[in-house]
């Protein structure tokens, strides 16, 4: 609560009162303390940076986490490890705030890791469920792998720019005269300039956290965690850290086209890919997870298509905007899902249907969320999405097409979800305990409000690439197409899932392979299993262990054995016969004679 209030106040203060210096939002570094000095100028300085995006994230994180805290009061009631749960939750909030506020690329890496571990702990909260454990492991290891890239990226950036401080890095590497800039752009590895390498690696880190292709596999499994957690971490905050990271280093990306291309295409691909999969999933949380993924894809390519400064910066603004709105409606959706699961005790759609009369409030909230995400005006999603589409349109038609399609699919699967939960067949629940406590309702209400209103925030006033004001023009004509598309998709879903019927089955049959592939998430898990189990374990680790046991250690034992063998085989010398002794004695003398009289004089 306090956290939330504080951060909202900060935000207000920043944006309204003293943030503006001659019409530009400066980045204020509030605190700076040398935490670890690495020599020759490089050091980790713990600091707090306030600039538009960080403040925006501040708001998002604190509000959502507050909601989740409240929600959990009801949701987690009666858990034996209630307190532990909250401890973890707070740990997460702490590290997330630290992440968004950090002023130092290394500091962000540290909180990055901390976020990862708290997500690990929360996913594995039901630790006696093997699936949960597996999921948590998966999440951590995959993100860890991505972080490897991030780390190396940090190393490169840090040493090329001679500093780890964001502002310094950006300032040094963006002015084209500075020696650092020249060094990093001229120096190249495998024919690619170091800067590209660095940014790509950093982006890999971001992609890992934000579940971009192909590092997304952990996100759906992460739904093993308690639903509020999914709402907080895997919808609103942590997963957008990747986007945040890219935004943070945006000036660098902006001057490096190659890296930006990668960002764009990865984003676009994941957006559509995830959307397709989402249509086939039956576990509601998984559907939401994939939709999250696709939305983040949105943000990513929005960043990708953006330029730097002034008008070109639209995509950037749009991405941030979408991040902002998405946080609200996606967490809303998740919380609703949580409420539903709380009621039904199952994640599977088949166990649901016609729940609207059991939980009217949830029903409304969920609907709001769906509309928002589907981009139906005047819901929040509409505005942000429009901006993104616009940005995409301005930069490349292909991306625009993808985006458009994706948004259509999004609308479809969201309403598929909606209808099959709240309408469709009637399920009757015995001894159901209402819709849940007040603590569960309030967040839904607040977030619905958010989902409804967040769109009207004049975002481009606050967050732009260069901190300057960006007039946000609104083209009604442009937005016709997407809205129509969304509505048709909703209609389609309505036809298919409003009433219980066999149309879906037919279509599935028609789709055949494609459906199957999508249903099996395009076999990514299998692929990864292949790589880890078969290759890493059987082809690297096992041989390593074997070599160690038999060759390296065998060598040592072999030496010992050999010594023993020698000592066994020469025991004959000690024959116990005096005369042999005398002979050896004499032989020794003769040898000495020969050696030292004739050979080694």
């Amino acid at each position: 609560m306090a956290v939330a209030a504080l951060s909202v106040y900060t935000a207000y203060h920043y944006f309204m009162v003293d943030g503006k210096v001659n019409e530009t939002y400066q980045s204020i570094t509030a605190l700076k303390y040398t935490w670890l000095y690495f020599g020759n100028g490089i050091s980790i300085d713990m600091g707090i940076t306030l600039d538009p995006i960080s403040v925006m994230m501040l708001v998002v994180v604190s509000v959502v986490s507050l909601m989740v805290h409240i929600f959990s009061l009801g949701y987690m009631k009666g858990e034996e490890r209630f307190s532990t749960y909250y401890a973890y939750l707070l740990l997460f909030t702490f590290s997330m705030l630290g992440l968004v506020l950090s002023s130092n690329i290394f500091q962000i890496y540290m909180f990055w890791e901390l976020v990862g571990v708290s997500s690990y702990l929360l996913i594995g909260f039901y630790y006696d469920k093997p699936s949960a454990v597996a999921a948590s492991k998966k999440a951590f290891i995959v993100t860890r792998f991505a972080d490897l890239g991030f780390l190396i990226g940090i190393l490169i950036l840090g040493f090329q720019s001679g500093s780890l401080d964001f502002n310094t890095i950006i300032q040094r590497l963006t002015d084209l005269q500075s020696p650092q800039f020249i060094a990093i752009t001229t120096a190249s590895f495998l024919g690619v300039s170091l800067l590209t390498w660095a940014l790509t690696l950093v982006f890999i880190g971001g992609a890992g956290k934000s579940a971009m292709l192909p590092l997304h596999i952990w996100l759906p499994d992460a739904m093993e965690g308690p639903t509020p957690v999914s709402a907080l971490i895997h919808a609103a905050t942590m997963v957008v850290a990747g986007v945040f990271l890219v935004a943070r280093l945006f000036p660098l990306f902006a001057i490096n086209h190659a890296a930006l291309q990668i960002v764009t295409w990865v984003g676009a691909a994941s957006a559509v890919f995830a959307a397709i999969i989402a249509c086939t999933q039956t576990d509601i949380k998984r559907v939401l997870a994939y939709s999250t993924m696709s939305q983040i894809g949105y943000m990513m390519f929005a960043l990708g298509v953006s330029g730097h400064g002034g008008e070109n910066g639209l995509g950037y603004t749009a991405a941030m905007f979408h991040l902002f709105t998405h946080a609200f409606f996606k967490s809303l959706l998740f919380l609703c899902a949580g409420a539903i699961i709380h009621l039904v005790h199952s994640n599977e759609m088949k166990d649901m249907g016609g729940l609207r009369k059991y939980m009217p409030l949830t029903h409304i909230a969920f609907l709001t969320g769906c509309l928002a995400i589907a981009g139906v005006p005047p819901f929040a999603g509409f505005f942000s999405k429009e901006e993104i589409l616009l940005a995409a349109y301005q930069s490349s038609k292909a991306i625009y097409a993808i985006a458009l399609i994706t948004s259509g699919i999004t609308a479809f699967y969201m309403f598929r979800l909606y209808f099959s939960i709240f309408w469709n067949k009637e399920t009757l629940l015995h001894n159901h305990h209402g819709e849940g406590t007040m603590s569960m309702k309030i967040p839904l209400i607040i977030l619905s409000a958010g989902a409804l209103l967040a769109g009207f925030v004049p975002f481009s006033h606050y967050i732009t690439t260069d901190g300057k004001y960006l007039p946000n023009e609104f083209h009604p004509l442009f937005s016709i197409a997407p809205v129509l598309l969304a509505l048709t998709a909703i209609l389609f879903a309505f036809i298919l899932y409003k009433k219980e019927n066999d149309r879906p089955a037919k279509i599935v049959a028609a789709m055949g392979g494609l459906y199957k592939g999508a249903y099996r998430k395009f076999y990514f898990d299998e692929l990864y299993n292949l790589i880890t189990k078969k290759i890493i374990f059987n082809l690297i680790a096992r041989p390593a262990a074997w070599i160690d046991k038999n060759i390296v250690d065998g060598l040592m034992n072999g030496i010992a054995a050999f010594t023993g063998w020698v000592s066994e085989s020469i025991k004959g010398i000690q024959s116990g016969k005096v005369q042999n002794y005398a002979l050896y004695f004499f032989g020794g003398i003769i040898t000495l004679l020969i050696v030292f009289l004739y050979w080694w004089i």
Partner: protein
């Protein structure tokens, strides 16, 4: 006349004691044995103490007998060792019926060693050598009922006669080429002609036989195993120590002109000795035999010190012998007690020894660590200085071999430790109730092992004698 008393103090004391014991034997008054032993040990103790006073350097009988501070220090060492041994063999002697003869022979060998150490002359050296060898053969036979004992005696007398024959031939050739028996003059006449190298080799083998260096060591194991524990201890510590003293001084003084040559020989011999000794020690099952081989390996290390051919080298050798007396006698003390009171000598018998005799086990452990050269036991310092002296010649091959051999030797010492501390045994050696004198002896050894190393004084003193 007085200077005879002063210079030959050690020898005269021994001679007096020999005759005293002789009369004790002839006088038909039968003594109560334990008191007899205590009396003898007391005498030995006085002898030891007296050894520290009225010392002065000088020559007697023309060039036959010489005494320096170093020499009488060595003699005191030998006295000390003998005292310890005789105290340790208390329980064994209690069962013997030729106690006095035992001491007569023992002391006469000791006397022989003294003469040998003080000898400044090949003749005296030879006589001392024989005097310290022939009675030992008789001593080795002292367990008159045991087959192995007489076998050991036979092997000892035969091989020693053989080796002394070779030694004599060498000496005769030396005499023939140099024309004198006196050490000082010899060193001037030695120029390294082939015949002299030949005789040098023969002399070295003569020594090598005594200190059981490979390949002249083969008698050692059998004799050690067969002989009574006391005699084995005596052989492995006292006689070996005495010979080492003489060996060092002979090499350093007489054969100085051909130092390069004998350095090479010592190098070869010491490598062979270390390796062979260790390799054989690996598989020994009898404690005494095991210690025999371990002592062979030790000789290999000592030879490295000798090969340093510098004051540091000599000092390190004598220092090591000092430590070696304590360490080896510590081990032999335990073995003597066990074999006298429990009649067990095999390594397997020592399994689970710690359960019944913790104190003796620790004594054994400490002694073995000292032998293996593990700090803080004195052996560490001894070995370190030996190798350092050897390294002074810049022959790092030798040092590396030696260092690796230390690892090898550690293995078999730890084998014993393992048997004592870790293995279990259904019928372990019963609790040993040692008499006062053996316990005293063991305490002396322990004190020696701990003090002589860490307190740097001992080495510094020895070094100051060079």
């Amino acid at each position: 006349m007085i200077e005879y008393l002063q210079l030959m103090k050690h020898e005269l004391l021994l001679a007096v004691m020999i005759f005293l014991f002789l009369f004790l034997q002839l006088g038909n008054k039968k003594w109560e044995r334990s008191s007899l032993l205590s009396f003898i040990n007391l005498m030995l103790f006085f002898n030891l103490v007296a050894g520290f006073f009225f010392n002065e350097a000088g020559m007697l009988f023309g060039d036959m007998f010489r005494n320096t501070e170093l020499i009488w220090f060595e003699k005191n060492l030998l006295n000390l060792g003998t005292l310890i041994i005789s105290m340790q063999s208390y329980h064994w002697l209690m069962k013997q019926d030729h106690v006095i003869e035992f001491y007569l022979l023992l002391l006469s060998t000791l006397l022989g060693m003294f003469f040998m150490i003080s000898s400044n002359n090949l003749l005296m050296f030879y006589l001392g050598l024989e005097l310290s060898t022939i009675p030992l053969a008789a001593l080795a036979n002292f367990d008159l009922e045991k087959r192995t004992s007489s076998e050991a005696a036979m092997k000892l007398i035969m091989s020693s006669a053989f080796s002394s024959g070779l030694l004599l031939f060498g000496i005769s050739m030396l005499y023939g080429t140099a024309g004198t028996l006196n050490f000082a003059e010899l060193s001037q006449h030695i120029s390294g002609t082939p015949l002299q190298i030949f005789s040098l080799i023969l002399v070295i083998t003569g020594f090598g036989f005594k200190i059981s260096a490979v390949p002249f060591h083969l008698w050692t194991a059998d004799v050690y195993e067969g002989a009574p524990v006391a005699v084995t201890a005596y052989l492995s510590v006292i006689s070996k120590g005495a010979i080492l003293f003489v060996f060092t001084s002979v090499l350093y003084s007489v054969f100085q002109p051909v130092a390069e040559t004998w350095y090479r020989m010592i190098f070869v011999i010491s490598v062979a000795t270390m390796i062979i000794g260790n390799l054989f020690a690996l598989r020994q099952q009898n404690m005494k035999r095991f210690l025999a081989f371990s002592s062979i390996a030790q000789v290999g290390f000592i030879l490295i010190g000798i090969s340093g051919s510098s004051p540091a080298g000599g000092a390190s050798v004598i220092y090591f012998v000092l430590i070696y007396i304590f360490s080896n006698l510590g081990a032999f003390g335990v073995i003597a007690l066990v074999s006298a009171l429990a009649g067990k000598e095999s390594v397997d018998d020592y399994k689970g020894f710690y359960k019944t005799n913790p104190f003796l086990s620790w004594v054994m452990a400490l002694s073995l660590f000292s032998l293996a050269g593990i700090p803080p036991a004195a052996g560490f310092f001894g070995k370190f200085f030996l190798l350092l002296a050897g390294a002074g010649k810049g022959n790092y091959l030798l040092i590396s071999i030696a260092a690796l051999n230390m690892v090898l030797s550690l293995y078999y010492y730890l084998r014993i430790i393992k048997a004592i501390f870790m293995d279990s045994n259904e019928n372990p050696i019963p609790k040993i109730h040692a008499g006062l004198q053996p316990r005293l002896a063991i305490f002396i050894c322990m004190a020696g092992i701990i003090i002589t190393g860490v307190a740097g004084g001992a080495y510094e003193y020895i070094r100051s004698l060079f």
